[in-house]
Amino acid sequence: MAVLTQQKPTTVFEKLNDETWRRKFLRNVLIPWLFIAPLLILHIYVVTVPAVQGIYMSMTDWKGVGQNANFIGLENYRELFFEDETFGKAFGNNMIWMIFFLTVPFVLALFAATMLSQIKRGGMLYRSILFIPYVLASVVTITIWKNLLNPQRGIGAALDNMLGLENTFGIAYLGRPESALMSIAFIDNWHFWGFLMILFLAAMQAIPPVLYDAAKIDGANRWDEFRHVTLPGIRPVVLFMFMMVAIWSFLAFDYIFLSTQGGPGGASEVIATLLYKNAFFRFEAGYGAAMGVVISIFAGFIIMIFVTLRRRGWDI
């Protein structure tokens, strides 16, 4: 008995002559790629190419003006890590900034979201009020707070006047090296934490109410409900925001530059402000590019941690 067998095409020519293979290729490979091609080309043009250029520029002595850029290898990185004291200080400030933003706004947002999730009437009003600072432009926020923290006409001075004190609360928070960075972090947090709160609240509202009912039947109190139902329920959002906030901490720029420009005496200097000064004031754009690459490496490192945890089964 003759057995009819259809052999799979193996060579390129056989594949092209095979109708089934052609259709499969068209449906599974070609058409998806054609759909994604415009975005991919755009991405390569506006992200990949500049990123590669940036990496190359970080190995040059480019001044940021004109086309003259001599290749100097890893010299900028050597100077960055082994000679530039200001970079070490700025990096330290970035770490302080990160620790602050991974704790204070998270605690505030979790607390407020938990409270707001209990409110049945007028909750939207509270949410809107707490979210408003987030939609203000950084320059507006800074202008407001620079006035509020002004030692002569700010809230501290008003408090001193009211209590009959002298220079107790009305001090130059942004003008003292020991308080400048934390004051700016406070201002940035005033603007930022409402956003976190809204995210956490949305995640909390997605938790099935039946879980809370079950917990109550098991005798759980409010704290137990928060710990064993709410927190596990919003864990993916919290951890994702942990990753994002950690990355954003290395990109901190606008609030610092608009308030103190890194001063006084470098007390509030972070890598991004240092990068800006090197690239645009000192004509060391190649050196600035090296700082930019270092920031990207830190961001990549943080992402890598989260990817690893995810692979190990964490629900992120």
Binding site: K63, V65, G66, Q67, K146, P151, G263, P264, G265, F283
Partner: protein
Amino acid sequence: MKGIKILFAIAILVLALAPVGAQDVTTVSMWFSEGSTLDCWGPLMLEFNDVDPSIQLEIVPQADTWNVTRTAVAGGGGPDIVRTPGPSFVYEMAQAGLILPMDTFAESMGWGDFFFDWALDLGLVDGQLYSLSDELETLVMYYNVEVFEENGWTPPDTMEELNALAEEVEAAGLTVFSHGNASWRPTNEHFVGEYWTQVAGPHKVYQALSGQIPWTDESLVEAIELLDAHMQAGWYGGGVDLYFTNDGVYRRTSLAEGSAAMNIEGSWAIRGTVDYFGQSGMTWDWVPVPSHDGTDYYTIGMGNTSSINANSPHPEAAAQFLTWYFSPETQGKMLTNCLKGPAPVAIGEDVLGALDPRIARIYAELSDASANDRYGYTTWTFWPPKSDVYIYEEIERVWTGEITAMEYSEGLQELFAEELAAGDIPPIPTR
């Protein structure tokens, strides 16, 4: 039918003439920062369009002029007239071939006839003229006349007299200098430059700038120590921490309203001073910044520069605009109408005579000082970029007690030596 023929004939005539007219007009573009300065300068600059109808100036307002210009010019575009914040920026652009040497225009259009001799030299890069200085600046000590009269004080000539006066000012419950850097952090460099010039003397500064002596020279370090002592004493804005939070409004109001006695500031501040004192109803005047030996020294600074874009399709027309703009007549008009600091050109006596005598005196004294070896150097004009940033950034570490004046000077010396060796020093008028 006849009407159609006439219309047709007119249309042909218009079409035939229109391109001829369009070809004859050359547009010279200039980018300028938005704001009150442009509101006053703009209409005056556009008067150029009446001088020669074949060349028309187009002013394009920009929010961040320098950064936009730098990016556009580097990309092969940008305006015909390139304005930079100062000579060190010109140096970088000239090195990159982004602006044109203008020596032939300077010669054919007679720029040397109205610019001061030393002023054209400030625009040289490798022996060729690349820029023209737009605004001649100096720093003086403004004071509140009523405050001085009420307390029976006289403006000080020497640092010693300033010391004695400062004690009296503080005893009267006033701030010595209405200062702060919250609006503009490089304000710091004004005082560093002034103290070097007034305490160590401009000749020492010249020697350091030309590499003959280091910045760790005893007299230069002493100047920084004295500035630090005055800062720590609270002379500047009432205290170091307050200095870092006092903004531009504080600076102007506290002097104009009499809660501060004096203010060391640039000639660019005249307009603001006139406005604020006008509001407070008090009177302002000025004296030279007190010096160590009582000599009236004036530091010379340049506010902006103008160059011609290497990509300009019509550099000749751009040069003709520059010739008109920098003429003593135009500069005099801008000084009179907008209180714009004039370019370093010979402004007529009649123009200065029509000004407020206090303002006219600043430029007359500066001119006299530059002719008689009593001029000093402003840091943003004569220092290379890295050293300049170091000067105003790191001095804060001295004021906050993190480093000493000597350590500050050593750091500057190290950086300056690198830039000197690399040939990055802007042109310095020889003495």
